[in-house]
Structure formats: C-alpha cells, structure tokens
Subunit: 255 residues, 2 copies
C-alpha cells in the first residue's frame, strides 16, 4: 500500500490553463485517504509564485511548502557551495533567484527553459563562463515540451546539451530525473522511496527517474506530453499506464 505521492504538475494536473478533467477530485481522494502528497515540477518557465497562483485558480489546494521546483533546488545548491549564479533562464523566473548571493567569486551557470531568450549571445555568454571554470547546473534536462500550438518544442535539455558539447563537460541536473530531487520531496513527508508512488506524463523524467530513484511505483498518464508508445521507450517501464490522474489515483487506491 502506497504511503505517499509525488505528482507532476503540467500535463497531469493541468494542460495549458485548464485543469485535467477529474484532477481536482482525484487530489481530494488522496487527501481523504490521509495520504501525503508533494508536487514535483520540472517547469522552469514560471516562478513559484505563478505556479501556486495557477494551482489555486484551477481549484487545487496546494500548500507552498508542498511544491518542489528546480529553481528552489538550485538556490539551495548555490547557497551550500557559496556560488554566485550566471543565469541562463527566462526573465519570468528571475524572481526565484532574487535571494542568491551575487557577489561570490566563483560562479555557476544555471540553465532553465529560457525559451526565446535562448539567443546565441546569451548561450555563448554562458559557454564563456563555463570556459572560465564556472560550475554547471541544469534546472532540468527535458528534451521537449508540448507547446501552446499542440506541437512539441525544444526544452531546456537541448540547450544544456549544446553547452555540454561546446564545453566538453556535463551539467549537474537538479530537477527530475535527478534522484536527489525525488529524495528531497520524499524526505519532506517522511516516506521511504519504496512506499511512494510517482504520477507523471513524462516517461523519461517522471517514470524512469522515479523508478531509478527507488520509488515503489511510477504511473504514466496519457495526458499532457504523453504520446502512444512512450512507455516502450523508457527503462524501467512504468508500473502502470492509465488514462489520466483520476485513473491513476483509482489504480493506486484499489491495490
């Protein structure tokens, strides 16, 4: 029996600016069963404040401390290591780094989904910081996201790959599928990995990441960025593949 849940946000709880049908009720069923839930997003386009506002607007009852974002994970790493950030992110996300020490001598390039701000000069400035010896942190390494026009678009991971190739070294990924990201959320609810369930629409970051991090189960939903066959392209395979979060919650609670 599962003792705690990790939920992805975009593509699972909502798509664009609409809640996934049944998602609000599904979350309430978990709460009614007395099961703790943490929200683990790889979104690096919107600041924490905007994510919480959107969740509230769509009817999801989420406490700020239950929301885990890659930007918050990055701020913790920067503080712990005494690094100043060289940000390659969307300007909308900058507020999440407002509390960082900017004066530290040693820098860390921090890459998020900068979208249209992935311009050559911005990328090259980050590359040159790496070339001077800066640390290299990737908020996430997602390949693609489902864009507003319904087609896939290049996500931050592609630009992390570009910098890795130019600098001939690897970034430290802080969001999913990094095991430490799952571990921090599990620790906050005092649930062992093997007793927790991840629900997500990204076969690689959500499902593969969770199972490699030791979670007891990972359920892939067929909403959001899911495409038929995704489950066959990831190892370990999802524990279950279901229509949406409502079906995922039913699947877990019925076991």
């Amino acid at each position: 029996m599962a003792k705690g849940f990790l939920l992805d946000l975009a593509g699972v709880l909502y798509e664009g600016d609409a809640a996934v049908p049944g998602a609000v009720a599904a979350l309430e069923r978990l709460r009614a069963a007395g099961l703790p839930v943490r929200f683990l997003t790889n979104s690096t386009r919107n600041p924490r404040r905007a994510i919480l506002e959107r969740l509230a607007r769509l009817g999801f009852n989420v406490a700020p401390e239950a929301l885990f974002t890659p930007a918050a994970a990055a701020c913790a790493v920067l503080a712990e290591r005494g690094l100043a950030p060289h940000l390659l992110i969307h300007p909308d996300l900058a507020e999440d780094f407002a509390g960082c020490d900017r004066a530290a001598a040693h820098k860390a390039v921090v890459v998020g989904d900068a979208g249209p701000y992935f311009a050559y000069d911005n990328l090259n400035a980050a590359f040159r910081a790496l070339d001077r010896g800066a640390d290299f942190l990737a908020l996430a390494a997602n390949r693609t996201f489902l864009d507003a026009d319904g087609l896939r678009s290049m996500d931050a991971g592609a630009f992390v790959a570009a910098l890795e190739y130019a600098a001939a070294r690897k970034a430290e990924v802080l969001g999913k599928p990094a095991p430490g990201y799952f571990a921090a959320a599990l620790a906050s609810m005092g649930v062992a990995a093997g007793e927790a369930v991840m629900i997500g629409d990204d076969a690689e970051a959500d499902v593969g990441g969770a199972l490699r991090a030791g979670l007891g189960a990972a359920v892939l939903v067929r909403t959001g960025k899911y495409r038929p066959g995704d489950e066959a392209r990831v190892r370990p395979a999802p524990t279950a593949v279901v229509a949406d979060i409502g079906a995922a919650v039913d699947w877990v609670l019925s076991r």
Copy 2:
C-alpha cells in the same frame, strides 16, 4: 614520403584577415616539390566565393576545384537522395545552396554555423522539421571556434547536439571529421589515404578525423584555435605538433 596534402584553412593559412606568417611561402614549397594539395575547410559561415576571394587577397594561389566545403558536400548529398533542404545556416551561406531543388517532398534539415541566427525560433523550426521526419545533415560538428575577440565561441556542433538531444536521433556529419569528406578530397587528387598528410589546428576534427580516415600522418599546428594540451586530448594522437604551417611543411619535406 608523402604524396599529397590536405590543408585546413582558418587557423592554418590565415587568422582573421591576415595570413599566418610564412604560410604563403609554405604552400609554394609544397607546389615546388610537385605535391598536390587540397583545401578542406569546416567553415560554414562564408560561402565558397568569399573563401576563394579571401585566399586570393591574402596571396594564396588556390584553384576553385581544390577547395572542399561542407556546403558543397551537402548539395551533393541532397541531389543524390532527392531531398529539399530546410536550411539552418547563416544567410551569407545561402548562395551555396542556390542550385538545390526546393520542391522535393522529403526534406533534410541542414545545419551550419548560423551564429546569431541560432535563435530559438529558427532552432525550433528545424526541430519540428526533424519531428516530422526530415533527414538530418550537419555541415560540421565543431565544438568551438576562435572568435574575433580572441575568445572561444560556440560553433555549429553545439547546436547540432541540441537538435540531436531534442529529436533523440543523430545527425549525419558531412564535414571533418567525417571519413567521407577526407576521402572525396583524396580521390580528387588520386592519392591513397596512407600516403597523404593532413595539416590542421583542430585536434579533433583535423587530426583525429584524418587519422581515423586512414591518413598516413596528421600534423597539429599551434596557430588558430590550438590551445596547449590539445594534443593530449585527442586519440589517435597527432603524428607531430609544430609551431605553424611553415614548420609543418618543413617537417614533412625533411622526412
């Protein structure tokens, strides 16, 4: 004894808009020794016409048919396979693709060093063409180039890596270090790979590429993008590492 030479251009014959000291004389010594020479560039920023003009302006005597460019290799592949190009290149290079069939139903994304034209929307349009099934040709996969300000900047290879990561498939690289690119230049002068010498400033593309393509020797020059220690970072190791093209020609002719 070497029977033919392949020379890289930028960083070997010239740096920026000045000939490398002694380079014109070095080329003349090869000619005087009766040795055929082909010029094998990975530059995809300037069209063929501009490269030939620059060589002439700097005093290098180079016949058009002796110059091999990745763009020409791409045009040959497009024609052979009946593909229309989806170009992700610098506008200056567009004239080298003027003769391509644009009407063919099947497309090939062709990536060159677009520099500031590596904007998000341009990259994402190329990604979406790949997502629709287009072929994937990279003119070159260089990591960095020595920029006008004396610092390294991101080269086309980084953006090829970004597209490869997002599309989860590999590009076919047409320039150095692709063995076929060396082979075409060797065939044009009727020299066997084992009897030819490559001279370049790029340990990976020039030296590693040439030796993997079977060339008898590859000499790394300490001009252009060369950085101390480059020779230790590439396998196979260069046959020799010398100050510049003058020293490289002396080294070969004295053996």
